[in-house]
């Protein structure tokens, strides 16, 4: 050990130094406090033995300086003093001394104290080493998390979460608590939002989130609907996650144009539909979490609600109601309901919930493991061209082709041909930028052919709340008997210079409307109604729209061209 002794009496100092050297220690000698401090800085001794009373600078002042200089390093300072009063002895310890020995000291006790402090020093050093190790590892983990977060962000980008009708709170590191939130615009308009909460936290939870993000954004961009997404996510998670790990989640699809929302909740706390008219509808979890059931048992039944402009949908992970105040009391789902019930007109549910939670916990920042999202339903059938900015693939596809695709019989009930048809069209490089237009056209044509042509449903019904449910009940019922029916798409594409023309003909097995005297009014009215929505959209997007046959066939011509050179050339 390296020992520093500070003693103004030359004789005492020599005796002490000799004694300590005999015990095998390296000894430095100082003759007053000031010198002791200077030698401490220069020689960094392990233990300091100090006389309390010395000229120039007293041992107590020197001890204070030395302790301040040592910082977090543990340097035992042992006073060797002739001060007999307890008060003086206490002052030595107050000045930062760790112990004292009364003069005349016993060699045996001195030796024992030095070896006791030597053990303490070793213990302290190993604790410090472990602390530094933990600190380094923690820094490393955080920097790895930041890096992983960047990779994750590239896969699970925010999608359209920044849209003006979406408000959300998600901590930047929430992914490492297993929370995910994705949002995408569907190619033909409408919004899909997925909120998930994986069991566990850290890397395993984050890893599970990656494929979900890929499935969500990949399939949403291709025009798949919520049910297809859920089926795929469940299957993927079931395959990759070990038993015992799963993802509580909710997916909702807001289709502004149809004035309806669909929600699937498997394991998240109640979601809420906050209507502009004051009504509050809970959207409880009706399903097992994702990744638990095998595909054949997975239930994708979605809850369907009519929705109007100004309605809000609120989703949250359990971190929200589980947030605690200083006393450890939970915020609770009842509080969530109370906040939503107490909203005044014009209050945004998101602001109200966040404000109440903040007041409850007393913390300005919510915990990492809570996610809250609120979507304001907007009606307008806004067709957004999300693909306009998507980079062109390096692969070029065919520009000249013709295809006929017919969906018939039972497939009408349980198969959605739109992603497939969209996929075919997207093989034309220049058309990829127009996926929104093309999807909208295909989906308008298909739902018209299926719902009004094959199923003979009247869109008049959807105008009232009862009719709305009736419409979808009837739709479901009639879909069970589609034997002998078909919807046939005929697609034709021809290339032009820096442009192209897509013709789509959609024909159904229904009776059309012109020949039917009884229902003519209804179908004509529905077509008229349709004119305000679907037909209007078709006319806006396509160069030509014509109704042919007995009204069971619509043909459109869609022209596209590459943007002017320089504007968006990649």
């Amino acid at each position: 050990m390296n020992l520093l002794i500070a003693e103004d009496s030359h004789g005492d100092r020599m005796i002490l130094a000799t004694l300590l050297r005999r015990l095998g220690h390296q000894v430095y000698e100082a003759s007053d406090g000031l010198e002791a401090v200077a030698m401490f800085v220069k020689l960094e001794p392990d233990i300091v033995l100090m006389d309390a009373l010395m000229p120039t600078m007293s041992g107590m002042d020197a001890a204070r300086r030395i302790k301040a200089l040592a910082g977090t390093r543990f340097v035992p300072v042992i006073f060797i003093t002739s001060l007999a009063s307890e008060r003086e002895q206490a002052r030595c310890l107050e000045a930062g001394g760790d112990d004292f020995l009364l003069k005349p000291y016993s060699r045996v006790i001195l030796e024992a104290k030095i070896s006791a402090y030597s053990r303490m020093l070793n213990l302290h050093r190993s604790v410090m080493q472990q602390r530094d190790q933990i600190r380094t590892q923690n820094e490393q983990m955080l920097s790895e998390q930041r890096l992983a977060r960047r990779v994750f962000d590239n896969v699970a980008h925010t999608g359209c979460l920044d849209a003006s009708n979406i408000r959300y709170h998600a901590s930047p590191l929430s992914i490492f608590n297993g929370d995910v939130l994705f949002a995408a615009e569907r190619p033909g308009g409408g919004t899909l939002i997925f909120m998930g909460d994986f069991t566990g936290h850290g890397l395993p939870a984050a890893i599970g989130a990656m494929p979900v993000a890929e499935v969500f954004y990949g399939m949403a961009a291709k025009g798949f609907g919520a049910a297809d997404l859920l089926t795929e996510i469940n299957q993927k998670l079931r395959n990759i996650l070990p038993v015992g790990m799963f993802c509580c989640g909710a997916l909702f699809e807001a289709d502004g144009k149809q004035g309806s929302i669909r929600v699937w909740n498997g394991g998240l706390p109640d979601g809420w539909l906050v209507r502009a008219n004051g009504e509050r509808v809970a959207i409880p979890s009706m399903h097992l979490p994702l990744g638990v059931q095998p595909p054949e048992r997975f239930d994708v039944t979605m809850e369907l609600f009519p929705a109007a402009t100004g309605d809000y949908v609120v989703l949250m992970t359990d971190g929200f109601p589980e947030s605690c105040d200083a006393q450890g009391e939970r915020f609770g789902e009842d509080s969530v309901r109370q906040v939503l019930e107490g909203l005044d007109a014009g209050d945004h549910p998101f602001d109200a919930l966040m404000a109440r939670l903040q007041a409850f916990t007393g913390h300005p920042d919510p915990a990492d493991d809570m996610t809250l999202c609120c979507l304001e339903v907007g009606i307008g059938g806004g067709v957004t061209d999300v693909a306009e900015s998507t980079p062109e693939s390096a692969l070029s596809g065919s520009g000249s082709w013709h295809c006929v695709y017919e969906v018939r019989d039972r497939a009408l009930a349980d198969f959605n041909p739109l992603p497939l048809l969209l996929h075919i069209c997207m093989e034309v490089p220049g058309l990829r930028r127009k996926s929104g237009d093309v999807y909208t056209i295909l989906s308008e044509l298909y739902s018209n052919a299926l719902e009004h042509g094959v199923l003979k449903l009247s869109s008049e019904w959807k105008k009232t709340a009862e009719g709305f449910s009736l419409y979808y009940e009837e739709r479901m019922r009639r879909l069970s008997d589609t034997q002998g029916h078909y919807v046939r798409f005929t697609l034709d594409h021809e290339p032009r210079v820096e442009a192209g023309r897509l013709r789509i003909r959609c024909e159904d097995s229904g009776q059309g409307f012109e020949r039917q005297e009884n229902t003519m009014g209804a179908r004509a009215a529905s077509v008229h109604e349709y004119a305000g929505r679907g037909m209007g959209i078709l006319k806006r997007l396509a160069k030509e729209v014509s109704i042919c046959g007995s009204g069971n066939c619509i043909e459109i011509v869609y022209d596209w061209e590459f943007p002017a050179q320089g504007a968006t050339s990649q």
């Binding site: 069991t199 566990g200 038993v243 015992g244 799963f246 509580c248 498997g266 394991g267 097992l288």
Partner: protein, 101 residues
């Protein structure tokens, strides 16, 4: 001991009791409770009388037990849940996988 086990007299039912919080800290004890049973078990009963709280990792452990007990043909009963615990089980719709009484 946060997890204790008991066999029925005929040895066919394994009763697992969880005391206090049923969360990740119970992981190893809960696994040990059913993995080291020497004789075959026909039915598992998870008694949550003394369980105050249950989190999602406990749900995962229940799924592991169900898997160990034979998956879809498993006979696993969860009983005596308090209101909070029952609520957590039903939010995740675990009635579909376990008989909860």
């Amino acid at each position: 001991m946060s997890v204790s086990t008991r066999r029925s007299d005929d040895g066919q039912v394994l009763m697992i009791q969880v005391h206090g919080r049923f969360d990740f800290s119970t992981h190893q004890a809960f696994r040990d409770a059913y993995e080291h049973s020497d004789a075959p078990v026909k039915e598992y009963v998870v008694d949550l009388t003394h369980t105050t709280y249950l989190d999602s990792s406990a749900l995962g452990m229940l799924l592991l037990l169900r898997d160990h007990a034979g998956g879809d043909v498993a006979s696993v009963v969860i009983e005596n849940c308090n209101a909070d615990v029952r609520r957590i089980l039903s939010i995740s719709n675990f009635e579909q996988l376990f008989s909860i009484r």
